[in-house]
């Protein structure tokens, strides 16, 4: 029993070490492959059930450490949990689609294929390469061979030119829409900065950014955002709000005893 518990601890520590590397992984398949390699068995004979458990334990450990994982890691976890349950339960004859064994075999195939591609990539990069081990004529005598190369343009340039033209159209309506909305964050930021400058009562309208004051859509958005921002700051105790009468102008100032410390 004690031995098993120790083994668990060792595994948990190993998982935590992996979690620290999470940014280095290129997605869940990469992580699964790393876990599989740790088992030191032929990928073709990898026990998928065990691998699924390892992965799930890993995800749980990451959660325990309050590490935020990208959604695809969680999607994989959900799928592996499903696979695991299907592998453990007797097959349901009514169920359609691939069997649990087929799914497991496919995952093993994916891992093996990814590993094979990595090895192929390494072998490719290790070849004698032009400009490194092998060299072209250092002083070519003809400018080029093809006459059409008088003017050059690459496919990438061509596609980017097209994309530039076409997205300009896509972009326009969007560009007209967005600038009419003052984000709450921007309003908060502006309010905070202004309140440090002055401890006097100021009307809400005086906090509107330049360019947002003329009547119209932009002003409405700026007023709404600035109002929401002032409520937020009032909640945090950073500003005092006052309104002399119903529908009268809203005034605000830095909460007493705040901000002055900045001025010394």
């Amino acid at each position: 029993m004690g031995g098993a518990a120790e083994g668990d601890i060792a595994l948990r520590l190993a998982d935590e070490a992996l979690i620290l590397d999470i940014d280095g992984f290129e997605g869940p398949l990469d992580l699964l492959l790393t876990l599989a390699r740790r088992q030191k068995v032929d990928l073709r004979r990898i026990p998928i059930l065990q691998l699924a458990e390892q992965y799930l334990r890993f995800i749980e450990a990451a959660r325990g450490l309050r590490i935020e994982l990208a959604a695809d890691y969680l999607v994989m976890a959900a799928w592996l949990a499903y696979l695991k349950s299907r592998l453990l339960l007797p097959p349901d004859p009514a169920e359609e689609g691939p069997s649990a064994e087929d799914l497991a075999a496919h995952l093993a195939f994916q891992l093996e294929r990814l590993e094979a591609m990595r090895e192929a990539a390494a072998r490719l990069m290790a070849r004698d390469r032009l400009g490194r081990e092998v060299h072209a004529r250092g002083a070519p005598e003809a400018a080029t061979i093809a006459r059409s190369r008088q003017y050059t343009a690459s496919l990438l340039e061509l596609m980017q030119a097209y994309a530039r033209l076409r997205t300009r159209d896509d972009f326009r309506p969007y560009a007209f829409d967005r600038p009419d909305v003052l984000p709450l964050e921007a309003a908060l930021e502006r309010l905070r900065m202004r309140l440090v400058d002055s401890g006097d009562w100021l009307e809400l309208a005086q906090f509107l950014p330049p360019g947002w004051r003329a009547p119209g859509k932009r002003r409405r958005s700026a007023v709404a955002s600035t109002f929401a921002a002032s409520l937020e700051l009032a909640k945090q105790g950073q500003v005092d709000l006052t309104q002399a009468e119903s529908f009268g102008p809203l005034r605000l100032r830095r909460a007493a005893g705040r901000g002055r410390s900045h001025d010394g």
């Binding site: 869940p28 691939p98 496919h106 192929a120 990539a121 004698d128 490194r132 060299h135 003809a142």
Partner: protein
């Protein structure tokens, strides 16, 4: 034979339009093979980039046996400090790899490729023609911005034919410049290609319901395995 002479005359007329007139074929005898060899030697030596068979044929006088002259030239340079290499349908002189140590000072600074770019390149080379969805299926992650551009910019990959499946996705294939860079005569010479294929690791084997089975793949369903395009690329 009569037609040959005819065609020769026409072909030459076109070529002559831009360039100091080459010896007009038909009027002059075809140069002897040794002379053809010299000409190809001069053209290939003068260019830093591989020259295609078609280009060589166009540039040499009508009636030359470019393939034969190339074979002679290749034998002549076998084992020399400079060797005749082939990349796809094009030929170039390159320094012998065993002399790399001597040419250290000629090394050009090469852009470092990210791991994602290297893997994507290998996947395109071994699985070509391959769609973006397939690359993502194999790597298990989305193709990130910049990866494909970088490979296109290096001119190591280009667009292949669209896949004849719903959505008709674009495909990627490797280029002659790729073959030249990695010292490969053709995509069939990729290291370990045969073993990978025999192990079934180059099959596209989508599994509906699996986490990696992208929508595009389930669509591809029918033509799983080696597409006709791929056959054409590797088996010719």
């Amino acid at each position: 034979m009569m037609d040959d002479t005819q065609d020769g005359g026409q072909g030459c007329g076109q070529d002559g339009g831009h360039a100091p007139a080459p010896p007009t074929p038909g009027l002059f005898p075809v140069p002897p093979l040794a002379e053809q060899e010299r000409m190809i030697e001069a053209v290939l030596f003068a260019s830093a980039e591989p020259v295609s068979m078609a280009d060589l044929t166009r540039r040499l006088p009508e009636g030359c046996d470019v393939a034969e002259a190339l074979a002679h030239l290749r034998r002549r340079y076998a084992g020399r400090g400079v060797v005749l290499t082939r990349a796809g349908d094009a030929f170039a002189f390159r320094t012998a790899p065993d002399l790399a140590w001597l040419l250290h000072s000629e090394q050009v600074e090469q852009r470092r490729l990210s791991r994602a770019a290297i893997e994507t390149l290998a996947i395109i080379a071994y699985h070509q023609p391959v769609t973006r969805a397939e690359i993502e299926e194999i790597r298990g992650v989305a193709v990130s911005r910049g990866t494909i551009d970088q490979l296109l910019e290096l001119e190591w990959i280009r667009l292949g034919r669209r896949r004849m499946t719903p959505g008709r996705p674009v495909t990627f294939v490797v280029t002659e410049a790729f073959l030249d860079h990695f010292g490969l005569e053709s995509a069939r010479d990729l290291p370990g290609l045969k073993e990978l294929r025999e192990a079934g690791l180059l099959d596209s084997r989508p599994l509906p319901g699996g986490p990696g089975a992208a929508e595009d793949d389930s669509e591809a369903g029918e033509d799983a395995g080696i597409s006709p395009d791929q056959r054409a690329l590797f088996d010719d």
